[in-house]
């Protein structure tokens, strides 16, 4: 088994969770790596959607470094603009949203707007919703990708940017006017989470080798639902690592950043 870093584990797991022949709306950051890995391996017929307007490309010219990158258009089938991409989600053509964020809470709501509780004078102003808020609202299911850190898995978000299950009320999304059914998976370097059908709370599904459910709970600022059986996360194969490092992101734009713990 190869050595791997947190980002590689996330990208590999993200890829593994994507089913072939599904439509995936690709958010910026590690989702771009994960879908490219999926397209090159077990999901050659996966259908990608990028928000600047590209639908169903084959990423032969290389990794897009931005969701607005012209490389997202390589061999696309349909290429209009922002409106068309998001309207595909509203209309029900998109299976998965694949997004990142700065903070997440137990109901899968995500913050990517700011840190500090004052909208007028935030401690740190983050980029903002971008496409994520709309993707989480209207793609049928949402996959969220994030490094597992206590400052990210929080009880209360500083700002709710992308809707999850809200406060967990069964009609929260209905009253919000959104069309998708909500968060499906949260992928991190150390665990994979799902959501409980009843309570809508985050459930631990898989933990990385060498870690126990309690180790995961320690890194999370809210109480996880932990079922009796938790699977072991699959580790990236040597071939997967080779692909990630040599073919997909040889410059290490996404995979060689430092993880702050």
């Amino acid at each position: 088994m190869a050595e791997y870093n947190a980002y590689e584990m996330i990208a590999y797991t993200g890829s593994r969770i994507l089913a072939d022949r599904k439509v995936v709306f690709v958010g910026t950051g590690l989702p771009m790596i994960a879908v490219m890995h999926a397209q090159l391996t077990h999901a050659p017929n996966i259908i990608l959607l990028y928000e600047a307007g590209s639908f169903a490309p084959i990423l032969e010219l290389g990794l897009p470094l931005s969701v607005g990158d012209t490389r997202t258009c390589t061999k696309a089938y349909y290429l209009k603009g922002l409106c068309s991409s998001f309207e595909l989600t509203q209309r029900g053509y998109v299976d998965y949203a694949f997004i990142g964020g700065a903070q997440i809470d137990m109901y899968g709501n995500v913050n990517s707007t700011l840190l500090g509780n004052n909208y007028l004078k935030p401690k740190i102003r983050l980029p903002g919703s971008g496409g994520a808020g709309a993707m989480a609202a209207n793609c049928e299911k949402t996959i969220i990708i994030m490094v597992l850190e206590k400052r990210r898995f929080v009880k209360n978000l500083d700002f709710v940017t992308s809707i999850g299950y809200g406060d967990g009320a069964p009609d929260y999304r209905e009253k919000a006017g959104v069309m998708g059914s909500g968060p499906y998976r949260v992928i991190t370097d150390k665990a994979v989470f799902g959501f409980d059908g009843e309570t809508k709370r985050m459930v631990l599904l898989e933990v990385a080798p060498g870690l126990k459910p309690d180790d995961i709970q320690d890194k999370v600022g809210f109480e996880l639902l932990i079922p009796p059986e938790v699977k072991k996360m699959e580790e990236p194969t040597t071939e997967a690592i080779r692909l990630l490092r040599e073919v997909i992101d040889p410059q290490g734009y996404f995979l060689k950043r430092e993880v702050r713990e």
Binding site: V67, K80, C83, A137
Partner: protein, 352 residues
């Protein structure tokens, strides 16, 4: 006023914000219509220089609509010229942008009597893989700009409503998030479904800033690769400046009218400007210039951390204030770099 409803976001939200009575941050739909009606719509040669286009169309206090998306077809050449000529109390409207916004912010930080941003209606402002936007962080943390947050679709739908001549667009997002509380959209109960639906107000910039692959002298534009919301911004704006990599003959547009993405009536000034989006990308012409962007971002981040403006000032003096035109800026970029970004585009097929 239509009876307003809301989602359950208030049960969840922790954000402190100020209720704002609704007002337009640029021309209202009725004002935008009136301006459009009063403009002559004839076919006339609109080619000009960027210097003249900016001199004639940009004034203090305007709402500027920034075309492109993140690094794609961003109106960098137009922004350079606006900075050179100066414009205060601007409102910026955009979806997702990087350097075009940061350049204006940097000019403000250097001399706010020359360039200043008063408000920004946006979805996203950063550099993706290169990092957060240091100058947005600086301006926001110091309360120096008023922000109004939407999703990318929200801003796209706002430009689309403006382009369509309707006062708002219904969307299926924003509801149930803090954007519902802080931005200028509003939730209503749909009269047909009985479900909540979120309305975002039309956005009509005073001036749309658009870079395209090709245009004819009248302003008919062809766009390849992601259209972003450039057609919508051009149609929504009361005036539009277009820079084009190439001017192509009218006959070509008349042969394939289906390929025209912006019609001449929506364009007021046409400027030939090769590499007009650099260090952004233009599909079919060049990929984006990662190194130049990183360099500029590094300078901005250094200012944010240290508060020292010297390197920032150097950048502007060298690349903007020290240039007569955008071609002079390009002359300061190595020809190797310009050749490389061209090669990295991979020669995508476009129809000119």
């Amino acid at each position: 006023m239509t009876r307003e409803v809301s989602s359950s976001i208030e049960k969840l939200s922790k954000i402190e914000y100020k209720e704002r009575a609704f007002k337009w941050w640029g021309p209202s739909p009725d004002e935008a219509r009136k301006i459009q009606v009063s403009k002559p719509k004839e076919l006339k040669d609109k080619r000009t220089t960027l210097k003249d286009a900016v001199k004639n169309l940009i004034t203090n206090g305007q709402n500027l609509g920034l075309g492109g998306f993140v690094n794609t077809r961003v109106p960098i050449a137009i922004v350079h010229e606006i900075i050179r000529q100066g414009a205060r109390d601007l409102t910026l409207s955009l979806q997702s942008n990087s350097m075009a916004c940061e350049l204006l912010a940097g000019a403000m930080i250097l001399d706010k009597t020359r360039v200043s941003i008063k408000r920004v209606e946006l979805a996203w402002w950063a550099y993706e893989v290169i990092g957060l936007a240091p100058l947005l962080r600086y301006l926001a943390a110091n309360g120096m700009v008023e922000l109004d947050d939407y999703t990318n679709y929200g801003m796209a739908a706002r430009f689309k409503a403006g382009a369509m001549g309707v006062p708002f667009m219904p969307t299926r997002d924003h509801g149930g998030t803090d954007m519902e509380l802080v931005n200028r959209g509003t939730m209503i109960e749909c009269p047909f479904t009985g479900r909540n639906v979120y309305l975002v107000p039309a956005c009509h910039p005073d001036v749309g800033l658009i870079h395209v692959q090709a245009a004819d002298k009248y302003g008919n534009c062809r766009i390849f690769g992601p259209l972003c919301t450039c057609p919508e911004i051009a149609m929504a704006s009361t005036y539009t400046i277009v820079t084009a990599e190439e001017i192509i003959p009218e006959e070509s547009l008349r042969t394939y009218p289906n390929l025209t993405e912006i019609p001449f009536v929506a364009v007021d000034a046409v400027v030939t400007q090769p590499y007009g989006a650099y260090p952004g990308a233009t599909y079919g012409f060049y990929w984006f210039g990662m190194e130049h962007m990183k360099m500029f971002r590094g300078i901005c981040e250094e200012f944010r951390v240290t508060g020292r403006k010297d390197k920032l000032k150097e950048y502007y003096d060298r690349y903007i204030y020290g240039c007569e035109t955008f071609d002079h800026f390009l002359a300061k970029i190595s020809s190797k770099e310009l050749r490389e970004v061209k090669e990295l585009d991979g020669n995508r097929p476009i129809i000119l």
